[in-house]
């Protein structure tokens, strides 16, 4: 059944591709941030394949490191000239570009042939983050959920059941106490990079207030100083006071954070789907089968659904002057075949027909399940919200983690910026 579907998709693709190749010479400018050699090589191979099948298309690739990419994209977009395909996390920044008319709507291509391309995505909530109104400006090619990675061996060492990780806040706190008792750092965290800390605050808010609280604050019928957001800060503060995080964690970067987990220096880490490959790179074989995953614990009196998920991933957005060949190439990137091959290397596929490549691994299976079945999927605040507000959330939570602001002040600071940035 699945192979049939992918064969059908391949056929659709061939039609699209051949209709494109009738045009004269076109150049597709493509910016991605996969600097790791195997990933970079993979994208090059995919581009070469596409060019071989379409001799009139030239794909010019620019590979930039994340921070360099961001500052460069801001400048280039502001000068009104978008690349044809470029890295995008969806959400606020993408919508800002869309509002300024800098992106191309690809919904005609997504909806062609009874929506064959659109329906091939299993991560529909992710696809929605690249859309505004009826228009869609890009597609995701790797997508996941943030959750708790944990070290089963360390759990055992602390007398905890490695196969039954905590599900509620009470159990979670008990686990932290047990780990501390055993002299193990309970949770790895690098506060200096800000965004890992923001995961915590947002997840508390998701569990406490659910989709409703967020939408109210976002649509301005409520506020980011409402109770769930203040309480989120209080819970986070209590974790800091418990000593759940490493010594001097505000001075550590994300690099320190995953290195600590990878070397079994801490028992848990709240992180996205990319974490396992970083652990394996940093300290090959140390975690191995001892790596487990569980969803963020359920909070007492929380209004959110236990299945609600915070997450995100990578996609490519389409610039306003992008030729049809760019869209065809994007279609090729998210074809079942390419997604399957990418999943062998590092990608959590967004296309249904490719998921089984990674689901042998129980960690990835739970991540994909959480992603696909979330009643409410929240993209990271620092991507979803307008850039100024997203970066203010990160800053405010950092100050809270450093113990330099109360939960109330943190929520109010975010609300102040929200009242300015959101209509």
């Amino acid at each position: 059944m699945r192979t049939k579907l992918s064969l059908f998709l391949l056929a659709v693709l061939m039609i699209v591709v051949s209709s494109v190749s009738a045009q004269s010479n076109v150049v597709v400018r493509w910016w991605h941030i996969s600097t790791n050699p195997p990933e970079q090589e993979f994208w090059q191979v995919i581009a070469d394949e596409f060019m071989a099948a379409n001799p009139n298309v030239t794909i010019e690739i620019t590979v930039l490191e994340n921070e360099a990419f961001k500052s460069r994209l801001v400048t280039v977009m502001q000068s009104g000239e978008a690349p044809d395909l470029f890295q995008s996390w969806g959400g606020g920044v993408l919508w800002k570009f869309a509002e300024a008319g800098l992106l191309r709507d690809i919904s005609p291509e997504l909806d062609a042939n009874d929506g064959a391309w659109r329906n091939s995505f299993s991560a529909q909530s992710a696809l929605a983050l690249y859309a505004q109104g009826d228009a869609t400006y890009g597609v995701p090619w790797t997508w996941g959920a943030v959750g708790m990675f944990y070290n089963k061996a360390l759990f055992e060492q602390a007398g905890l059941d490695p196969e039954n990780p905590p599900t509620t806040w009470e159990e979670f706190v008990a686990a932290i106490e047990a780990l501390k008792e055993a002299g193990i750092t309970p949770i790895s965290l690098g506060g200096k990079d800000k965004w890992p800390g923001h995961f915590w605050w947002v997840y508390f808010a998701i569990r406490l207030g659910g989709e409703e609280a967020f939408l109210k604050a976002y649509n301005r019928t409520g506020s980011f100083a409402d109770e769930p957001f203040v309480k989120a800060g209080e819970y986070l503060q209590s974790l800091v006071e418990m000593g759940a995080f490493p010594e001097n964690f505000m001075g550590l970067t994300y690099g320190d954070q995953f290195t600590l987990t990878a070397n079994a220096g801490a028992a848990m880490e709240l992180m996205g789907q990319w974490a396992p490959s970083l652990y394996e790179n940093a300290a090959p074989g140390v975690l191995g089968d001892n790596l487990g995953w569980f969803p963020f614990p359920v909070m007492p009196d929380g209004a959110g659904n236990p299945g609600d998920v915070l997450g995100g991933g990578d996609g490519f957005a389409v610039g306003k002057n992008a030729p049809d060949a760019a869209v065809a190439f994007l279609q090729y990137i998210t074809s079942v075949d390419v997604q399957r091959r990418a999943a062998e290397i590092w990608v959590i596929p967004t296309v249904g027909g490719a998921e089984d490549v990674v689901t042998d691994n129980p960690v990835f299976a739970s991540i994909i399940e959480a992603r696909n079945n979330a009643p409410y999927f929240q993209l990271y605040y620092d991507q979803f919200l307008p850039p100024a507000l997203g970066s203010e959330v990160n800053d405010a939570v950092e100050v809270l983690l450093a113990g330099m602001a109360t939960p109330q002040e943190t929520a109010e600071r975010i609300e102040e910026m929200a009242s300015f940035e959101l209509e």
């Binding site: 620019t62 360099a68 990878a262 940093a282 300290a283």
Partner: protein
């Protein structure tokens, strides 16, 4: 007499101790980078300063030196640096000559306007600069990096050269004209040779600046075939994880030519910065 020598030599020893200590402070960060480069990233991140647990591992250096991209980056750096330096020095010499030896209305005003450039770092006007570069069609061209670098270096170079040119006695100029020399002749055959130390110093300062420039090439150069060396660090920085051992190996490789170059050029930097007063 003996006591005096004793005091003298113990003072000298004290000076050596202090200076030796300072040298250690200067060198130890460089050692950190080097020690990071001969261990794995995991070792480095687990213990940022320390000697390798096992054998010293020079594999990262070999990898970098064996890669084509490193040598291509090196070639690009040489092109960008040398053109920036030459163009800057030529233009600055001409400007400095006009501002020191030619008399014309608006000279002080023009010179002041140029000096204001000193007050503006390149980063603050980056968007308009980028728009300008694009309008001239210089994206993905060495010139898109070279010309702005030359422009932002002009105020400093001109100020240094002008103070040298002013110091050259007027009598010399008069004598040259009496001998039938033209303005260009005086400039080319008398002034420039005399100002050679200053010109070398300006050139060296420009070389250091252009060699180290990071921000501008990122904006201007799409294709990595045009990238200069500093941008090569990006190869080792992933979206989430950075391969610090390779970064440190790369950084060490970048430092080495800087030091070698510096050892040769030190004399000129010094003369340039100080108006040639320094003795060995």
């Amino acid at each position: 007499m003996l006591r005096i020598t004793l005091v003298r030599s113990s003072l000298l020893i004290l000076r050596y101790v202090i200076l030796g200590f300072l040298c250690i402070i200067v060198i130890s960060p460089v050692m950190t980078a080097f020690l990071g480069s001969v261990r794995t990233t995991n070792e480095f991140l687990s213990r940022p300063f320390g000697f390798p647990e096992g054998a010293w591992n020079f594999e990262f250096y070999l990898d970098i030196l064996r890669s084509n991209s490193f040598w291509r980056f090196m070639g690009n750096s040489l092109i960008i640096t040398s053109f920036t330096m030459v163009l800057n020095v030529v233009l600055a010499c001409m400007l400095a000559f006009a501002f020191s030896r030619l008399r014309f209305r608006g000279r002080t005003f023009a010179f002041n306007v140029l000096s204001f450039g000193l007050l503006f770092p390149l980063t603050v006007a980056i968007l308009p600069i980028f728009i300008q570069i694009r309008q001239f069609g210089l994206i993905d061209s060495y010139w898109g990096v070279i010309l702005p670098l030359v422009a932002f270096g002009l105020p400093q170079s001109t100020i240094i050269l002008r103070s040298f040119f002013i110091a050259i006695p007027n009598e010399l100029e008069d004598a040259a004209y009496v001998d039938g020399c033209t303005t260009f002749g005086f400039f080319r055959y008398i002034l420039l040779p005399m100002a050679r130390p200053a010109i070398t110093a300006v050139a060296v300062i420009q070389i250091i600046g252009a060699w180290n420039e990071y921000f501008l090439p990122i904006l201007v150069l799409n294709k990595d075939v045009y990238w200069p060396l500093p941008l090569g660090i990006m190869q080792f920085q992933g979206q989430f994880g950075t391969d610090w051992s390779r970064v440190m190996a790369y950084v060490t490789l970048l430092i080495i030519p800087a030091i070698i170059f510096y050892v040769f050029a030190e004399k000129y930097i010094v003369t340039g910065l100080t108006g040639g007063e320094l003795k060995g």
